[in-house]
Amino acid sequence: MSQNFRIENVGLINKDKKLCFKFNGKKYFGYEGDTLASALLANGVHLVGRSFKYHRPRGFFGAGVDEPYAIVQLYRNNETEPNIKATEQELFEGLEAKSVNCWPSVNFDIGAINNFLKIFLPAGFYYKTFMWPKSFWYRIYEPFIRKAAGLGVASIKHDKERYEHKYEHCDLLIAGSGPSGLSSAYAAAKNGAKVILAEDKPRFGGSLLTSDVNIGNQSGKEWAEGIIAELKTMPNVVVKNRSQIFGYYDHNMLVMSEKVSDHLPATKKYHPNKRLWYIRAKEVLISSGSIERPIVFGNNDTPGVMLSSAAKEYLKVYGVLVGRNPLIFTNNDSGYETAIEFKKHGVDPIVLDSRKNPESEIINEAKNIGINIKNSYVVVAAQGYKKVKSADIASISDDKKQLGKIENIQCDCICVSGFWTPTIHLASQSGNKTKFKEEIDAFIPGQSKQNERTLGAANGVFSLEETLKTSFAAGSELSKKITENDNEVLIPNVVEKKSSKHDKFWCVPLPEGKNYKRFLDFQNDVSVSDVEIALKEGYRSIEHVKRYTTLGMATDQGKTSNLNGLQLVSEIENKVVPAVGHTTFRPPYTPVSIGAIVGREIGKHSKPTRKSPMHAWHEKNNAVFVDAGVWLRPRYYKRGNENLFEGSKREAKNVRTNVGVCDVTTLGKIDIKGPDAAELLNRVYTNAWLKLPVGKARYGVMLREDGIVMDDGTTTRISENHYHMTTTTAQAANVLSHLEYYLQLVWPELNANVVSTTEQWAGAAIAGPKSRDLLQKLFPNSNVSNEGLPFMGYMEDDLYGVKARIFRISFSGELAYEINVESDNGNFMWEKIMEVGEEFKIQPYGTEALSTLRIEMGHVAGSELDGRTIPYDNALESLVSKKKDFIGKRSLQRTAFIADDRQRIVGVVPLDKKTSIPEGSHLVKDANAPLPNPKLGHISASCWSVEYDNPFSLAILKDGKNMIGEKLFVMSPLKNKVIPVEIVSSHYVDPKGERVRS
């Protein structure tokens, strides 16, 4: 199809570059610089979609971010994206788009039957129509509604685009590059301030691109181009187009979404598709302009009805006529500007003005060039189904209540202007309580809450001269405050046409006997009658009316509908608009790609990963890894076709019979130094620490102030004033912060320093009956006998020339040692242990075997120290000092904590000695008791005992102390298991702890 509606030599598009695109399977062409909307309109395509609820035909209503209708499914570079506004999407070669929300096609849409059933779909229809009979909801109504719901189709493929973030700081952030944005940016830049100027459209200049004004003897557009060109050369200025500031957050942090390559056929390799900017600004200038609002009349959603400013923009920016026979319906002078542009390009418009006798320069000009103007006239209803064919018009009485005789006139589009609504979203998001400005029938920002100021049309100022004056002044003043420079900038002369007052008129009354739908919210199909129903049904708060009718909750977020909705409510309620108030403006101003919000923290990099210095060795030796917080730890070292169960059993067994080695680098290590280090430990741990000799380790338990166990571990006295504390892997960071809290805030009198040395030392635990023989071979010059290095002893030596720390501690319950070397030597140590250990049949073991070993021995770990247990529960009460005070001690006196039947750790063995017990299962007395079956305890950890070759679990059981020998049931409804069990001691293997001391 040829571009019937394109006019020669008009517009800012590049006519030298023709671009091919497809819409609903049909091929069209447009030009570089077009949007999908302008290119479709140039081709005479007005029907782009169907409405949400009634599936009525939808065309184009605006030319930008406020567009409620023209939503398409976009195909680009073998990917698809739903819900793209055709008015925002720039054209590129090969673009493909389809209509959404219609089936089988936009021309014949089955859902449109809703349009004839609309009596069943009034306001709040979700809440009432489909409520009865109750059983119908799941089976009939919901599936039906769901099928009809939604706009575009979400691709369930992985998103291949790259999204990046950037954190930036500046002196002045300016949102919008219209006259106020440009002039304030220029003035501030001249004072040397660091300025960021953001424009959501591809072209800078805002209203200057389409208005007929003169600044400093240039056209508005030329002046804007000059300013931008100069700003771009200044090193202290960043200007960004295609960049929408969508959120104003705390402490002057604003967030901007920059579309880096949405206008290209594909994103350049290594470059982002979108970049999300977190900008912290000292001052913010909001120059976001205003959006024209519609006048409400019958069938005002018919394709071909659009904002008069949009018609002007399509003409002046894209050289596209939205109609050849336009009707312009206005209550202010803006409609005339559009009419004049039409006329200038050889099209004869008719202007209907609701005002009686308006007079102004613009109107005079329109009259002078012979435009047909009808005063006190309104559009009663648009006629035509898929496109406007004619309009029913009538004269209107001065009080706007009575319509004259209805006439029908031919037209192919209706351009409507109901005056302007300042875009106050950002100011409101900042916390600014807005105020209603009577002269313009709209809200403007009130008192600034953060360091923000709103300028120009966004502040309800529609005179260009005043806008430039205040904006230059604001830019100068705010930048001067920051840079202390005061460079004078001359404010250019302005020539603009003066306007007359607009008419406080926003909705055409229904003619008698007619029942036209008059839409307020075009995307969500909310009409005047829907709001009337909501109010009749008793909804008063505007927030409730909004939710009940869904007014303003569509993807355009009510940019064109909110104010008319308020006017309606205020009229029915007989209140002034400010008394009705408006709904809260929340970020984002426009929908933002979730991928852009997330940025690069995706896939395996969604969280950082921590690796030990021996990680590469583990990898090479078939380790299967497990997440331990963000650490990666070997779970087991797979041999052949072994599974986890077989592999971990083999490893654990080898520890019990020979010797095993485990990477324990991840355990938290904290260096504690200072004259008061011992005193600190004494206050933090439940047991006594003042008399620990140098060269000895001790096991300790620390509590939270509420008496609950926080962590456990061993601490070794390395020298007089130097202790080495270990923590569990999971609690390492919390324990450090906990110690700092007490040292800095609670006991500042203590002279001690704590610092994490987790990363300084690589750790290997060697465990098993042959571990001493191995140790002796590794350290031939030391006496590592039971006397030379007794249980809980510590020594330093060197391992083939490498400084090593040797601790005789055990988590496995076997004779065991832990060797630490500095991290760069970690792999060397590990390989040496493996090499020397070969003759003792050493095997590396992972966390699963480690777990088995500790469970069998009844050693508590994270699953018992789960933030809900006290020392008694873990059979650790012997470590609780009665003599000294410590963190959390006072809480241990609580009734529940000293009750006779207090929960306590026990062992659990299935009666059949075969069935594995799922972790997290409950223990009950009677498996057949009615629900809720009283829970006596839960399984905290399970393993397959390698010592006895049967399942064994630990449990925290009510009155556990007196339950040994009892028969209970383990129930796991999730796994559908009921297992008869016997309660035994938690110390299943080596109950006297002889092996560790052997």
Binding site: E142, K147, A149, P587, I597
Partner: protein, 169 residues
């Protein structure tokens, strides 16, 4: 009377509506994320607290960024959708993460608070037992555990095991 409650901020968001892709609520426990699709087609998503006391009913984007990061980890296709609306609510966080449903020492004053962010799912049962508590002026067997004095006696109901640091996620 002092309540062991701190007021915090929780945000949620919805995407633009899309055709049905998800027919149930899915929560990602380890990632602190939940998602469901509304009848209108919007994906409704949320996660953890912003992490400091607040009555502002406005949150900040990094928290939602974190929530959505977890969301994409679970359902990568969410990346191509657009976030339409966000909002922040105030949460009465009790010191063990469970609600308080109880009578008080003041005649005629009953407590039903500290719901943290778990309210709706338990509303029918708690409403019923609370009505019982008021009507009979004694706690029902099923809400007896949710007493205010559990913080003094130590009979806490701390499912997450985080203790009093309600802001930790």
């Amino acid at each position: 009377m002092t309540l062991p409650i701190e007021t915090h901020l929780l945000q949620a968001c919805v995407s633009e509506p899309v055709k049905p892709v998800l027919d149930s609520v899915v929560t990602f426990g380890a990632g602190h994320f939940y998602v469901s699709q509304s009848d209108k087609g919007e994906m409704v998503m949320g996660g953890d607290l912003d992490g400091y006391n607040s009555y502002a009913q406005r949150g900040n984007l990094p928290t939602l960024q974190h929530v959505l990061t977890e969301g994409i980890a679970m359902m990568p296709f969410l990346s191509k959708l657009k976030m339409l609306r966000t909002w922040g609510g105030i949460m009465d966080m009790s010191m063990d993460g469970s609600p308080i449903i109880d009578k008080t020492h003041i005649e005629g004053l009953y407590l039903n608070c500290g719901w943290c962010y778990g309210g709706f799912k338990a509303t029918p049962a708690s409403g019923w037992t609370f009505a019982h508590t008021i009507a009979q002026d004694r706690v029902h067997e099923l809400n007896a555990g949710y007493s205010l004095n559990r913080f003094s006696t130590g009979h806490l109901i701390d499912e997450k095991g985080l203790g009093t640091k309600t802001w930790i996620s």
